[in-house]
């Protein structure tokens, strides 16, 4: 039996899931913000603050991880997930928003708030209280901190940080520790902090989406660009960050192009052209789907090993010379993603 692989989620991903549960009705933990009338409205809300730095182009736009609001109370709370330490620059911008409510009201109507007597709270939700405390000693945080202790299975307000929430509702919401007997991750299976450490996990997810899309298209229907497939099928990929997402798409698109080239110059790949059906079962490149996914998994792992620790390295071009031209392409499929064969040189994205 094939060995089961492990892609441990980042602390940030765990905290993001905790943020979701605090603002949505659920059976796993007490949704203290939802219960008090502050449902989760938006993840990663982008709040442009041109007045913070009038010379900056584009203007600064912090994106707190989770935003909750009460229309009735005209109050907002943002939680920022921190698996490690705090970010002074980010905290400064959050503080600016708190002092300038008009910047938030101008951003989005998703929060369903208005400017009159608007209360804006920010909080840090963390899993490494030591690191946050050290940062706080150097530069005191203006916002309270909620500490998720995974071992104790508790979320509680930290008394190491002096700051408090402004809104009495929110103070009350976190006055008692919240028991977290189980923290499900299925709402937000990944976040930006999982890449590139778990690059293979992302490649696998994309491959499933591509196969899923292939099943919805006819044999001669054009495949949309990969980026479109991924953002439509799984918009959570937008949490990754533009640069990381682009890099991932380029990688997978090249793999797919090599495997399933399309004659049409406007299209990068076409899986269904290479699809065969034998006795009711679908085969891709002569491999059963199960076998095919197995190959992809091994290849994605190889890629991940190569990719780890090379955050700044650009991808190299495909090196076709390593392919044995005497052998059928299909028979080399198992080696197809070997990064040492195909990503040997530094790649300059500007050449594309």
């Amino acid at each position: 039996m094939q060995e089961v692989l492990s892609y441990p989620p980042s602390e940030h991903t765990k905290l993001m899931n905790l943020c979701v549960l605090l603002g949505r009705k659920n059976i796993f933990i007490k949704p203290t913000l939802y219960d008090r009338g502050y449902p989760l409205r938006e993840l990663g809300l982008r709040i442009p603050i041109p007045s913070f730095d009038p010379d900056a182009v584009p203007p600064p736009a912090p994106t707190p991880d989770a935003g909750y609001s009460s229309t009735q109370k005209n109050a907002v709370i943002f939680l920022e997930a921190k698996g490690g330490g705090s970010d002074e620059d980010q905290v400064e911008k959050f503080y600016y928003i708190q002092q300038h409510p008009e910047t938030l009201v101008a951003t989005s109507n998703k929060l369903q708030i208005n400017e009159i007597n608007l209360i804006i709270d920010f909080g840090i939700i963390c899993s490494n209280i030591e690191k946050i405390s050290e940062d706080n000693k150097r530069n005191p945080l203006p916002f309270p901190v909620l500490y998720y202790d995974e071992k104790q299975k508790l979320l509680s307000s930290s008394n190491l940080i002096k700051a408090s929430f402004l809104n009495p509702d929110i103070i009350e919401a976190f006055s008692d520790p919240i028991s977290i007997p189980r923290l499900p991750l299925v709402n937000i299976p990944f976040s930006s902090y999982d890449y590139p450490e778990n690059a293979a996990y992302f490649i696998q997810k994309i491959m499933i989406m591509v196969l899923s899309k292939s099943g919805k298209l006819g044999k001669y229907e054009r495949f949309p660009p990969l980026e479109e497939i991924v953002t439509q099928e799984y918009p959570l990929f937008n949490l990754l960050g533009k640069r990381e997402f682009h890099e991932l798409i380029v990688t997978v698109e090249r793999i797919l192009y090599r495997l399933f080239p399309d004659d049409n110059p406007d299209s990068s790949f076409d899986i269904n052209k290479y699809r065969e059906v034998k006795k009711g079962k679908i085969f891709l490149r002569r491999r059963s789907l199960k076998k095919f996914l197995g190959i992809l998994e091994s290849s994605a792992i190889e890629y991940q090993k190569y990719r780890r620790g090379t955050m700044q390295t650009k991808l190299s071009r495909w090196d076709n010379s390593k392919l044995d031209s005497q052998r059928d392409l299909y028979d080399q499929i198992d080696q197809f993603f070997d990064p040492t064969l195909f990503f040997t040189k530094n790649y300059d994205a500007d050449d594309e």
């Binding site: 692989l5 938006e42 990663g44 809300l45 951003t107 989005s108 709402n187 299976p189 199960k290």
Partner: protein, 363 residues
């Protein structure tokens, strides 16, 4: 073929021969009678796009949404009706031998990406639909597929008939030993919607309805409607509308709508690696492929590709619970299959609910 249907209707009123007929069936002998069957097929495809074998032909009728299914088996021809009045839930009415017609349907459904599936009636659904009626016969089938040692049996298979077996059913469910594997695979009930009319009908896990006795074709149709339109369809719609997750992404952020699903187990799964590997074999009955991510010994994440229509979803696996994130637009029938098979292979007491706690299948 109209004569054949006439016969079927007549057959269900031949009470006097019933006992002899049952004896024949009990002895494993084939019966001469042709019993009416209603076999539902969940479809996400137009009939003209269905890949059919050479022995199958669909003939038109004056009604566009009703076709005649012509089947040729060893040069013998039979006819059945395919009712597509509901585009999603087709019903095949047939007088063919049960094994033969089910084999032909299996060939249609079980092709990769067929966009066709059975309707999946869990033990919970069978109990719900049979409540309030006299249960004249039932079968239980449980296979401990994932070798869960918390269930004290490798398999359980039993069939029981009685004038009214309702109390026996209750006793079996609460029995400390048998109750652990008490998963219904079919239940026969005696029902009557109009005075003087009655039918004896068996509803199975795949949604098929077999009529063994009675005098009212209207009652057959009424029951069939209750099963699919009144019970199954609203559950699948609820899953797809309320218990699927939508991430609405704009330049300003991401909004989450909908809810996740939970299959809560009363008996803990012991070996999650064995479970996830077997779940994703790509073979019957689950028909799932995908990737597994082991977070720790008691926590796995699974990316699932459903071979029936190539839909995808995520499952988070704990020893006592499966959490499902079904993307908006994905077929809810996949969840019905997963849940029904979980009851049949892991835990008959498994319960399907939303992430906020509300039950998906009324009990």
């Amino acid at each position: 073929m109209y004569t054949e249907l006439e016969k079927a209707i007549c057959n269900i009123s031949q009470e006097d021969e019933e006992e002899a007929e049952e004896e024949r069936l009990a002895e494993g002998k084939s019966t001469q009678k042709k019993y009416l069957k209603a076999l539902p097929i969940e479809s996400n495809i137009q009939l003209e796009n269905v890949k059919i074998d050479k022995n199958i032909e669909f003939l038109p009728t004056s009604e566009k949404s009703i076709k005649i299914l012509k089947l040729t088996r060893f040069s013998k021809i039979t006819y059945s009706y395919l009712d597509m009045l509901d585009k999603r839930y087709w019903i095949l009415y047939s007088l063919d031998n049960s094994l033969d017609i089910k084999k032909d349907i299996k060939n249609l459904i079980q092709q990769n990406n067929s966009h066709l599936d059975y309707t999946w009636f869990s033990s919970t659904s069978l109990m719900k639909l049979s409540s309030g009626y006299s249960k004249t016969r039932f079968s239980m089938k449980f296979l401990n597929l994932f070798r869960n040692e918390n269930i004290p049996m490798k398999r359980l298979s039993l069939q029981l008939s009685a004038e009214d077996a309702s109390d026996i059913v209750e006793n079996l469910i609460t029995n400390p030993f048998i109750g652990k594997g008490a998963c219904f695979s079919n239940i026969e009930v005696l029902l009557s919607y109009n005075q003087g009319d009655f039918i004896k009908t068996r509803l199975s896990m795949d949604g098929s309805i077999n009529i063994s006795r009675g005098n009212s074709i209207n009652d057959v149709l009424e029951f069939q409607k209750k099963v699919i339109q009144g019970h199954y369809k609203p559950i699948v719609e609820k899953i797809e509308q309320e218990f699927s997750t939508e991430y609405i992404s704009t330049n300003n952020g991401i909004e989450i709508k909908g809810d996740i699903l939970s299959i809560k187990l009363s008996s803990k799964l012991e070996n999650l690696e064995f479970f996830t590997n077997n779940l994703l074999k790509g073979t019957n009955p689950f028909r799932f492929l995908g990737f597994v991510n082991k977070i720790d010994d008691e926590h796995y994440m699974v990316d699932v590709l459903d071979l029936h229509n190539f839909g995808h979803f995520d499952i988070e696996v704990f020893p006592d619970e499966l959490l499902i994130n079904l993307p908006k637009g994905t077929c809810g029938n996949s969840i019905m299959r997963l849940f029904t098979l979980c009851q049949g292979t892991i835990d008959p007491s498994a319960r399907l609910s939303g992430g906020a706690g509300s039950a998906v299948i009324p009990s």
